[in-house]
């Protein structure tokens, strides 16, 4: 067993010391003298969240399958330890070896949400790695960013040596070989980065410059050297049934968010909800072979000892072999007392039947995500869920014994009117009424139905048809939340309906980071230096500090959020090619404004551009 990086006095002082000791089941420990390349993979949030992320587990498994590489994990130290490490100048360490991150060859950081940007700086800072890429030398690890936020990496471009755009399975081997060769030949760090910049999917910000128009929009982004690609196309794994997947995922000691075996059944989504970034980024849909999945399930349950298995995908109901897979799991898991959790299922007769088999109906709730309160607005966002379908699903569920319903909506969607917002109250009320109509009085357990309606604020994201949309101001958001609340209070069944809403301040910041450019980096750096950290945690989010910093840096928030964007504006992320073309997104934006819906990929191909990857749903026979 390795000596722990933190002494007992510290571990006994901090909350949940298990976050920092490593040693978990299936954690990979290698002989460091026998590997050529050492890597730390980081999720910049606390252990419980980071450990729940499948992407890192996949990369961890893949990188450790390379004999010459040892990949370890690192997460954000929580506030208590963060303070101690700063005071005592303890360098941040990787969990497996308990050795400093700064001594590694690579530090990979997965960036899953914008509000973790200051945590990226925390990781670098505690690791004693210069925050700005330009200040680093061969003394420091190569810092790589990956994950969905890197589809607009510009607000954090200054902090990274490179970004890996797209799915991690494809290019790491080449990148590592390039690194080994560079080291062997004693090349400079810049030379290595220059070569890396020519690998598909790798974006090295230092070789690009951005020219701006007088109005602050981008004139052009261009490579500063010959041979550096102008456009970076995302990497994608097309052979999803024949690639890396962790048969022995690491099993944490403490309870984490995703404390179960996770079976990723497919990547991508056939539905083109116009607000959804993941839906566009991961196109086209690629399904995993059902027999492969069955085999994975058995092996992973055996190697972890988990008592629960969960299916993962953006929309599990669209997986073509779903019923075969679920039947198999019910049979297999039933023998071993293993629970099955089925998130992201569309509510219909099939899913209700399955759910009643695998969960305790009395304890579970039914989830609908209509996203908008009226059919008109649902057409605008291309959410193919109608009131009729919702009420029918709810009625069936109530008949089977469910009494709890969760509803998710967004406020601030393009073209939204007061009427649309009032629709949230109406729809919630109709669901409650459906309960009282379908369940006779004597059969009502506790006499009631519980409906929880939640709203989040709509944030336009890159690579969606809504990337041109104006975001609402904080004041508009709050007004809309009040309107929603009042519309619920006016309802006949208001006592059965609870309403939650998301913080507006945080949404505004997320809006800036999502569509920000390189000029936002300075604000992030300064805000971090002022003490902003764990911004995704509402109790630590310091809006006052953020606003002050934007002000001091002379960066205008509205420019990034509420400004009207013209159709021909050059976006900071235009240099990335995610398959889906800007022309397609423009067409969809136009259809949204006209209130027209688009069919999904299985009904009819829309020619989005992702067909260029030569596989997946694009090449299935269409109905």
């Amino acid at each position: 067993m390795n000596k722990l990086a933190l002494k007992d006095e510290i571990l006994l002082q901090v909350e949940k010391p298990a976050r920092y000791i490593g040693n978990e089941v299936n954690a990979v420990v290698k002989d460091k003298s026998a590997v050529a390349v050492r890597m730390a993979m980081c999720f910049p949030d606390i252990y419980e969240i980071g450990m729940s992320h499948l992407g890192i587990q996949i990369l961890y498994d893949m990188l450790n399958s390379f004999e010459d590489v040892w990949c370890e994990r690192v997460y954000s130290p929580w506030i208590d330890l963060d303070k101690i490490m700063r005071e005592e100048h303890i360098p941040l360490f990787a969990l497996e070896s308990q050795e400093p991150v700064k001594d590694m060859d690579f530090l990979g950081i997965t960036i899953q949400y914008e509000m973790c940007y200051t945590n990226i700086l925390q990781i670098l800072d505690l690791s004693q790695i210069p925050l700005l890429a330009k200040d680093r030398t061969w003394e420091h690890p190569i810092v790589i960013g990956g994950g969905p936020c890197t589809y607009n990496p510009e607000p954090i471009a200054d902090f990274f040596d490179m970004f890996y755009i797209g799915e991690g399975e494809t290019r790491y081997r080449e990148l590592i070989d390039l690194y080994k060769a560079s080291k062997k030949k004693n090349e400079s760090r810049t030379d290595f980065l220059r070569k890396a910049a020519k690998l598909p999917g790798i974006y090295v910000p230092m070789f690009y410059e951005v020219l701006y128009n007088e109005d602050g929009t981008i004139l052009e982004m261009r490579p500063t050297e010959e041979g550096i690609p102008k456009v970076i196309r995302k990497e994608i794994e097309m052979k999803v049934s024949d690639t890396y997947y962790p048969m022995k995922p690491v099993v944490p000691f403490i309870k984490v968010t995703q404390d179960r075996v996770v079976l990723e059944i497919q990547r991508g989504c056939i539905r083109g909800c116009r607000f959804c970034q993941a839906g566009q980024l991961y196109k086209p849909v690629r399904e995993r072979d059902v027999d492969v999945l069955k085999d994975y399930a058995i092996k992973m349950l055996k190697s972890t000892g988990h008592e629960e298995i969960s299916l993962s995908s953006l929309s599990s109901s669209d997986y073509s072999k779903l019923s075969e897979l679920i039947d198999f799991l019910i049979e297999e898991c039933g023998k071993n007392y293993i629970n099955i959790s089925l998130p992201s299922l569309r509510i219909d007769a099939f899913s209700l039947d399955v759910m009643s088999k695998v969960q305790d109906i009395r304890k579970s709730s039914l989830t609908f995500a209509p996203e908008a309160g009226s059919q008109r607005l649902r057409d605008v966002i291309n959410k193919g869920l109608t009131e009729e379908v919702i009420l029918k699903g709810a009625a069936m569920a109530f008949e089977s014994g469910w009494t709890r319903v969760k509803l998710y909506f967004m406020l601030g969607l393009p073209t939204e009117t007061e009427e649309d917002i009032r629709g949230i109250g109406d729809l919630s009320n109709k669901i409650a009424a459906t309960f009282f109509e379908t369940v006779p009085k004597e059969e009502r357990k506790n006499g009631k139905v519980q409906i929880v309606a939640s709203t989040s604020f709509f944030i336009p994201k890159p690579f969606t048809p809504f990337q041109w949309a104006k975001m609402n101001t904080k004041e508009e958001f709050i007004e809309k939340a009040y309107l929603t609340r009042n519309s619920i209070k006016e309802q006949l069944n208001q006592k059965s309906i609870k309403y939650n809403w998301h913080e507006a301040d945080m949404s505004v910041m997320e809006g800036v980071f999502a569509r920000g450019d390189r000029r936002v980096a300075e604000v992030i750096l300064k805000a971090y230096e002022k003490g902003c950290l764990f911004d995704a945690w509402s109790e630590y989010f310091r809006n006052d500090l953020w606003l002050q910093t934007f002000d001091e840096c002379g960066v205008n928030i509205d420019f990034y959020t509420t400004r009207e964007r013209s159709l021909d504006e050059v976006f900071p992320w235009d240099f990335i090619d995610c398959g889906v073309t800007k022309d397609f997104l423009k067409r969809e934006w136009g259809k949204a404004m006209a209130g027209e819906v688009s069919p999904n990929c299985r009904m009819q191909c829309l020619g989005c551009g992702a067909g260029i990857f030569g596989g997946g749903v694009c090449y299935e026979a269409k109905n």
Partner: protein
């Protein structure tokens, strides 16, 4: 069939709390393929219970849990399969079979033996190794015990079955004590040391002690004439 499993907990695992050790074993039992029995009900759980929770930071050579199994080949077999499913820092020491009417681990616990070391830089300034005998020989040892509402003075002497300084394997002087560990009268080793130091005008700092639970015992004698035997001594190898 009821089995009693004795395990040691050391190294990094001393930072894993009691509830997480339970979760750890639930998963380990699945990995090891032990044919454990499940309770009934809508969410069946493994039939498993632990003897005495060990505080975070302590190591132990004598932790116990009881499980109910449907079938088991032999003590050796269960021990080996479990050990293959362990991480460094938890080791299965013995597996014994209990008779059907045996008391469960938690209810059987009456005493525990501890080795207490002073961490480097935290040793008392007085000659503690020699003075500990005199401390123990007093007719009563009074400590203030905090309850929810107030502090009460109590005599812990009757709950200390033995207390002495010994030399460990590395030739270092340590304190060894056997104290009450029953659910009603449990004494933490730190409490004893604190009283000892207080008597000599010193205070025990938070991180001064390194504590190992050597074993957990049950009483096969009477309350007046206790006979302490390790919890696994009531079971049989099979």
């Amino acid at each position: 069939m009821k089995l009693r499993i004795k395990f040691a907990k050391f190294g990094a695992m001393r930072f894993i709390g009691h509830l997480d050790v339970m979760r750890y074993f639930q998963k380990a039992i699945r990995r090891a393929g032990i044919d454990i029995a499940y309770s009934g009900g809508f969410s069946p759980h493994q039939i498993m219970s632990f003897a005495a929770p060990l505080g975070v930071g302590l190591t132990s050579n004598g932790e116990y849990m009881d499980i109910e199994v449907v079938s088991a080949a032999s003590s050796e077999d269960i021990k080996n399969s479990l050990n293959k499913a362990m991480v460094p820092g938890i080791e299965i020491v013995s597996v014994t079979k209990l008779s059907d009417n045996a008391m469960n681990a938690m209810a059987s616990v009456t005493a525990a033996e501890y080795t207490v070391r002073f961490r480097e830089g935290y040793e008392p300034s007085f000659d503690w190794a020699h003075l500990i005998d005199a401390f123990y020989e007093q007719p009563s040892i009074l400590v203030n015990k905090k309850t929810k509402k107030s502090e009460v003075e109590m005599d812990i002497k009757p709950a200390i079955y033995s207390l002495k300084a010994v030399v460990d394997r590395n030739g270092t002087a340590v304190i060894r004590m056997l104290v009450d560990a029953s659910s009603s009268g449990n004494i933490k080793p730190g409490l004893v040391i604190e009283a000892f130091m207080k008597e000599h005008g010193e205070t025990l700092s938070q991180f001064a002690l390194e504590i190992t639970r050597e074993d957990t015992f049950t009483n096969t004698g009477t309350a007046e004439m206790p006979v302490f035997i390790p919890l696994d001594a009531v079971g049989d190898q099979f």
